[in-house]
């Protein structure tokens, strides 16, 4: 993660604040910062979304291509994640500097979406055993303001919700199968994102834990638990990170908080996405011009 330099006195100040459930910007331990989300920002992708969580800016584009399915899962499509840390965020990400962080985030996304109940890959199947849709989800990290995993997962979920895949008609002609991809921009297939997970990061600061840590709070944490939570409260992935060690009871507490926060986060996101969808084309896409 991108680090800020903090003195010991500042760290103690943050610690005391968290203990009293009043963080440095006045939030409670389970509150998220100001979150902005907009979908359909890039026109030459199948789906896109931009999420701005305080200072963290993430842009996700989804492109769909036809390809061969995984030999172990012949009737399912594929979901490929790729994270790119842009040098816009910090000069340290120049060249290959951001690759470590990018690999961490993409591996966490793979793990979170690996669960068969949360994202049904069968809806991406075209011809079982030979052709399927491969969704390339490309994440672009434009600015780092703490809590990258959460913001990334929100943007990915929003982009996948926004994705429209053209309908394919399969014609069987003398043993040869021909695929016809529809040109109609309204003849599309949308994805069912009801059960997809969102990632919630819980940072241990002192004796308590916080959700949505800012960069300064991340500096004070020695250990964090990153988990993927669905709307129903199912945990799809769990990872403990950091140089500090955690007590099993703390991990249980953090998981409980994470589950609770994850459920409400998912609900809020789906509600916002539904509202945006309802506005339809009446709303002008603003993107970065706002």
């Amino acid at each position: 993660m991108v680090d800020v330099q903090l003195s010991d006195a500042e760290k103690v100040f943050i610690l005391h604040g968290v203990q009293d459930n009043c963080r440095e910007d006045g939030r409670g331990c389970e509150d998220y910062r100001h979150l902005e989300m907009e979908t359909n920002v890039m026109s030459n992708t199948n789906g896109s979304a931009r999420v701005r969580l305080a200072n963290t800016d993430i842009l996700v584009g989804v492109k769909a291509e036809l390809g061969v399915p995984n030999p172990e899962k012949l009737d399912k499509g594929r979901l490929e994640f790729f994270v790119d840390c842009s040098a816009n965020a910090t000069p340290e990400f120049e060249g290959r500097g951001g690759e470590d962080l990018a690999t961490e985030i993409s591996n966490m996304l793979y793990r979170a979406y690996d669960c068969p109940n949360c994202f049904n890959l069968k809806q991406l199947c075209v011809i079982p055993k030979s052709q399927c849709w491969i969704l390339y989800v490309d994440v672009l990290l434009l600015e780092c303001g703490g809590n990258l995993f959460d913001a990334t997962s929100l943007a990915v979920k929003a982009a996948l919700f926004n994705t429209s895949i053209p309908k394919v008609t399969v014609t069987r002609d003398e043993g040869l199968e021909e695929l016809e991809i529809s040109d109609d921009p309204y003849d599309v297939q949308r994805l069912d994102m009801k059960a997809s997970p969102c990632i919630v990061t819980l940072n241990k600061v002192g004796h308590s834990h916080v959700v949505d840590a800012s960069q300064k709070e991340e500096c004070c944490t020695l250990a964090r638990v990153i988990m993927g939570v669905t709307e129903k409260g199912t945990i799809t992935a769990l990872k403990k990170e950091g140089s500090g060690s955690l007590d099993p009871t703390s991990i249980e507490d953090m998981m409980e908080t994470g589950r609770r926060v994850g459920e409400s986060l998912n609900k809020c996101l789906m509600k916002a996405l539904g509202e945006e969808e309802r506005h339809g084309t009446k709303k002008k896409s603003l993107g970065f011009l706002r």
Binding site: M42, N44, F82, D84, A87, G95, L142
Partner: protein, 247 residues
């Protein structure tokens, strides 16, 4: 391409523009808080973000420091979802490295390098959507970002491309016109003094037409300068009103 007329008999291009018309330009300064300067530009369907960090101490090997000038460090990167066909790697391929060098040469000529000796200025360009004119939009965005960062420039640097189709020079070409095989001239100029800081040509063009096409590109740069200047002035007046500076 059969049936695809780049320039119709009535004088309209594929997107409905006249030969001398630029695409719609929308831009914004100060998009990010973390970078010293940042800007976003949309030229038609091409969307580019630029961030500037600096001037700061040389990162990495101190041996690269120049005793009398600033070191201009650029990086050109394209998002994997920016092109029609998905790009496998955002940067590091031959084309991106060439673009990086071109940007570096352009801004080395435009920044008042003698004012920041033994320092480094980073310019990071990210193309979010590519529809032709990547270099031009990158240069325009970088100029705005440098102005937003408060770095001393000799003049604005504006870039524009032009081509020659059906005996007519056309300006600000998009991706379809670029890939049609017609010649392409990209020019970056310092508009006030009308000096060309960067000139590149692709394709085959007859010598007799060269001056017409280059003039078209330079004229396009001048027009873009007027637009960018207005945007900068509006931004400054907005910021000064917010901060309560005297008018």
């Amino acid at each position: 391409m059969a049936g695809l007329e780049l320039l119709s008999d009535q004088g309209f291009r594929i997107d409905g523009r006249r030969p001398h018309e630029l695409r719609k330009i929308q831009c914004r300064l100060g998009v990010f808080n973390q970078a010293d300067g940042s800007a976003y530009i949309e030229q038609g369907n091409t969307k580019v973000l630029a961030a500037v960090y600096g001037p700061h101490e040389i990162r990495g090997s101190k041996s690269k420091a120049l005793h009398d000038k600033v070191l201009v460090n650029c990086q050109f990167s394209m998002a994997t979802f920016s092109t029609g066909e998905r790009k496998r790697r955002p940067r590091g391929d031959r084309k991106s490295q060439e673009m990086t060098m071109h940007l570096q040469q352009t801004f080395d000529a435009a920044i008042q390098t003698t004012l920041y000796p033994r320092s480094q200025i980073d310019i990071f360009v990210e193309v979010l959507q590519s529809d032709g004119g990547n270099y031009c939009a990158s240069v325009n965005a970088s100029t705005l970002a440098l102005i937003d960062a408060g770095i001393a420039l000799r003049d604005y640097v504006c870039a524009c491309s032009s081509s020659f189709i059906n005996d007519t020079p056309i300006t600000d070409i998009n991706y379809l016109e670029e890939s049609s095989g017609s010649p392409e001239i990209i020019a970056a100029t310092l508009p006030k003094s009308e000096q060309i800081v960067f000139l590149l040509m692709n394709g085959r063009l007859h010598e007799d037409n060269l001056s017409r096409v280059t003039d078209m590109a330079v004229k396009g740069c001048k027009d873009i300068h007027d637009i960018l200047d207005q945007v900068v002035r509006d931004h400054v007046s907005e910021v000064s009103t917010v901060h309560g500076w005297e008018n």
